[in-house]
Amino acid sequence: MESLTSNQKVTKSPLFKFLILEFICLSLMIADKNHQLAQPVRNTLSLAAIPLIKIIEWPQDMYQIIQVALSRQAQLIEENTQLKEQLIDTQLKVQQNVSLAAENERLRNMLNATTVSPLTTSVAFVSNINQHQKKQHIIIDQGTAQGIHVGQAVLNLEGVIGQVDVLGQHFSHVILITDTAHALPVEILRTGMRTIAYGNGESISLNEVPTSADIQIGDVVVTSGFGNRFPRGLKVAEIESITVSPDRTFQTSVAKPYAHFERLTEVFMVWPFNTNTPNE
């Protein structure tokens, strides 16, 4: 306060300004953390952030356009045949699945079980933007304006990606399942055992499997649908290694996610079922 002379007002002093700004920051943080009260502030400020994102994306878009323009016809034909083969493969699988689905439906009807409604999804594109912080985030090009909400499940064709963490007006941040702050209710497909998968930075780990439980390397981990955020039965990861915890009460297994997080271009947003969700 030594800079405060008699003819200066208290409100002009740097310390006062500093304290006021820090107080605003603190209240914003508390509002943001607890009750989503800061969402309107976020929405308005996110409009100012869009030009910056566009500037970063622009050279990448240009590169893609140039790449398409310069790629040879032979390359395109090759890609085309490859895609056709893939399509035939998947169509064959679908044919097999149709009969299976019908059979499943019949059995479910006999048991009076609730039918599983199909997923409603929409496509969002991933912006390739550096995330200079401790959380594993990706940015997608949809936000509150498109009706995205916090906790919405995000997938791609390979498996589960994560869920929406922070919202903006026209973009939102998706937290990956490998983030250390993320937990995902899962089940082992082979045995149906349910547990929780925690992110550990590079892969996910299942820390709470009792030593007596049957779990093997190569087991497929799918979402269990608990918590009503992720629909049931989505592929998540494959068990890679199993170790027993030091106090011999649990076995810790590490699973490698199917999705390749380093080369995401488009993802699917899962919309919640409009009627009753299958609750086990």
Binding site: R42, I53, N130
Partner: protein, 164 residues
């Protein structure tokens, strides 16, 4: 002359901080990201030192919030650390002007370290983040880039003053 110079400085300031924001957003390879200095903090430190006015604090606050939006972090995290940085540099700017380049650099590094600590504490409080030694790596590159940034921006201001 002096007045004209004063009018030009805000443009250079905003332009340079926007460039710093873009530098932070560019997707670098993973190996570089670890060493990437906190560009915005460096620029805020420079401008607080250069102008020694507490108007920079408000600028730091605004860019901090913008950074929070872009990074998806807790709203006000970067704002808080940048305002603190700006305040400390502004307070000691007069003394720092008298010192040598090396001492000034050491002071800036200490203040940037303080900036990292504030953000680590906020992360720890908000989602239980445990700090790692890797978080300190940006300080090395910040130390290496600081003289260049200072020289470059000083030159830009001088040439701007001469041209107008």
């Amino acid at each position: 002359m002096n007045k004209k110079h004063k009018q030009g400085v805000p443009y250079i300031m905003h332009l340079s901080i926007l460039c710093a924001l873009l530098l932070m957003l560019i997707p670098w390879p993973d190996a570089i990201i670890k060493y990437q200095p906190h560009w915005v903090a460096l620029l805020v430190a420079y401008w607080s030192f250069n102008t020694a006015s507490n108007r920079v604090m408000l600028v730091a606050f605004c860019y901090g919030l913008l950074l929070d939006i872009l990074m998806g972090s807790l709203l006000g995290k970067h704002g808080m650390s940048l305002v603190a940085l700006s305040f400390l540099v502004t307070k000691s700017a007069k003394q720092l002007r008298m010192t040598s380049m090396g001492q000034l650099m050491a002071m800036v590094i200490v203040l940037l370290f303080n900036d990292i600590i504030i953000r680590a504490i906020i992360d720890w409080l908000s989602f239980g983040y445990k700090p790692a030694v890797v978080d300190m790596l940006p300080l090395i590159t910040a130390a290496l880039t600081w003289p260049w940034i200072k020289y470059l921006l000083d030159r830009i201001q001088v040439s701007y003053r001469n041209s107008s």
